[in-house]
Amino acid sequence: MGRLLKLHTYLVLAFLYLPIAVIVALSFNQSRFGVRWTGFTWQWYVRLFHHHRIAVYAENTLIVAVVSTLIATVLGTLLALGLYRYRFRLKSALKFLIYVPVVIPDIVMGVALLLFFAWVRVHTGWLRLSLVTIILGHVTFQVAYVALVVRSRLAGLDPALEEAAADLGAGGYATFRYVTLPLILPGVLAGALLAFTLSLDDFVITFFTAGPGSTTLPLYIFSSVKRGVTPEIHALSTILIAVTTVGLLLGRALLRRR
């Protein structure tokens, strides 16, 4: 029984990670076509960096990820704090609504955003599809993730600590700055890293909210794959995987801190 369970575990792990391992391996393979190993090389990475547009796509991706993460982290943290501190009508409804962007299919979200932006554009002339609309799109789902992570951190926070700060003469801002924020900071940073990695590799919502000239790396990978998978794409994917993994590991380490 134990052995069977072990075998099962290995099979699941293989199923999950083998495809990723293959991509990483192929990004170092000398052979341009096919999946036969013919020797180790860095050349696809070198070529990738000489690709004429890749720097622009990477820049777009980073701008979107950094800006949307900053916005979402502030908003998500405030949302979590509001839910922690205050009692108000519709609080339970709001608690439930946080989960909507998390569970709703990305494609629905993407289409909804596209329609919404079109509607705003028709009435005001604003929100032409661009990096700005991608950022807004990313923020909509990132806020939920940040709020959930920060909320879990706040759940372990003794409300008496904020009262103690007030008791010792700290006003609202000082209490937040010197007591609340330092205590929830690991949660805030973990939420930010999660939001960052989600933005970095988002395809579906970006696809619907991107305009001309706002191609990001995932969009580029998708469009290139249509013309055949090249080792450069493997290299690019490997880099994305590495950055995302590092982000997740950092976030996890932060959440473990007491």
């Binding site: 003794d158 008496a160 600590l161 009262e163 103690a164 700060a165 007030a166 008791d167 010792l168 003469g169 700290a170 006003g171 000082a174 010197y178 007591v179 330092p182 205590l183 007491r258």
Partner: protein, 376 residues
């Protein structure tokens, strides 16, 4: 005696409560019109069972709850709309509420830094507070590296370093073991006498309140039952609740037949006097004030009873007695056997129980069906 009893006359009021009322969620009445004055330099305890409103009262003083009605004045200043961070009080919280991300030093310095005192002053004052509560050498530790007793001392230092007009303490010793609690009780009393700061101390432990306080307010269901010196509350409880909550009491229903005579389930008894004939009263007598004898004594208020149970507690023997009007409890000191008049009684033995009139406290309150009361 560690401290002389203090009478509050001719002293300055520091905390004044007037008709304070607090209702939670529109239905739970936590405080039902509490009026109370605490004087400068007093060690004042709020005593009562959980849910009696004592913590709510303390939180109203700290500014963490806003009363629905009534007035709160601290040091002569009305506290309406005064937030916690502008009040001349500091709190020692139930579970200490030390800032986990700060060292002991930074925890204690927090209040001083909020007042933007110069770094040199902060250092001096923190050093003073650290010496005061005797935690030298722990300055650089974090709260999770401290024992319960040490945390308690840090919490105390963090509050006292700000030299508040009133120190509010919310069951500060509740989480500690008995031995440490006794030790810290004495230290708290020493600190309070040394610093002459007014303490408002919340506890559900009647012994703690009796030992430490100058005055005690016994609370029940959001109301004050009785406020007074510890010995007043113990010797002359005004209500059956106080008689039972502070120590143990024999409660006997009575109807006055003359100003100094009552009819009770145990038979006619004599009391100190001043009663209205025909009116119903409740008599209370402490178990240690009940006298036992093997042979009849020429004294009033004798009841013949039988020993039903004996509880040996070391310092005393507690006799549970079966009397005609119900159960009576008597404690006798476990004294030297050679002492004249020292007696021990056996299970089932017939004893003469004396309820000395001067020890029978007459409680004049409407009689409900108090559990454990001998009824007429």
């Amino acid at each position: 005696m560690l401290k002389p009893p203090k009478r509050p006359e001719n002293r300055t009021a520091v905390v004044e409560l007037e008709g304070v009322r607090k209702v939670f969620d529109g239905e739970t009445v936590a405080l039902d019109g509490v009026s109370l004055t605490v004087y400068e330099g007093e060690f004042f305890s709020l005593l009562g069972p959980s849910g009696c409103g004592k913590t709510t009262l303390l939180r109203i003083l700290g500014g963490f709850e806003v009363p629905d009605a009534g007035h709160v004045r601290i040091a002569g200043q009305d506290m309406k709309n005064v937030p916690p961070f502008r009040r001349p009080v500091n709190t020692v919280f139930q579970n200490y509420a030390l800032f986990p991300h700060m060292t002991v030093f930074d925890n204690i310095a927090f209040g001083l830094r909020m007042r933007r005192l110069p770094a040199e002053t902060v250092r001096k004052k923190v050093a003073w507070a650290i010496e005061l509560v005797q935690i030298q050498g722990l300055e650089r530790r974090r709260p999770h590296e401290l024992s319960g007793g040490q945390k308690q001392r840090v919490a105390l230092a963090r509050a006292l370093v700000n030299e508040p007009k009133v120190l509010l303490l919310d069951e500060p010793l509740g989480a500690l073991d008995l031995k440490l609690r006794k030790q810290l009780q004495i230290e708290l009393m020493r600190l309070q006498m040394e610093l002459k700061i007014t303490f408002v101390y919340v506890t559900h432990d009647q012994e703690e309140a009796l030992v430490m306080s100058d005055r005690i307010a016994v609370m029940r269901s959001g109301r004050l039952e009785q406020v007074g010196l510890p010995e007043e509350l113990y010797e002359r409880p005004k209500t059956a609740f106080v008689a039972r909550f502070l120590g143990r009491s024999n409660l006997i229903e009575a109807r006055a037949t003359a100003p100094d005579r009552v009819e009770t389930p145990h038979g006619p008894l004599r009391v100190r006097g001043g009663l209205v004939p025909g009116r119903r009263y409740l008599l209370s007598i402490r178990p240690e004030k009940v006298r036992l004898a093997r042979t009849p004594w020429n004294r009033p208020n004798a009841v013949i009873a039988r020993v039903h149970d004996i509880v040996y507690t070391g310092a005393e023997n507690q006799y549970i007695l079966e009397a005609p009007g119900g159960e009576l409890v008597a404690y006798t000191l476990n004294a030297d056997i050679s002492e004249p008049g020292y007696e021990e009684y056996d299970y089932g033995e017939k004893v003469y129980v004396y309820l000395p009139p001067e020890n029978l406290v007459v409680i004049d309150e409407p009689i409900g069906n108090e559990p454990g009361t001998a009824t007429l």
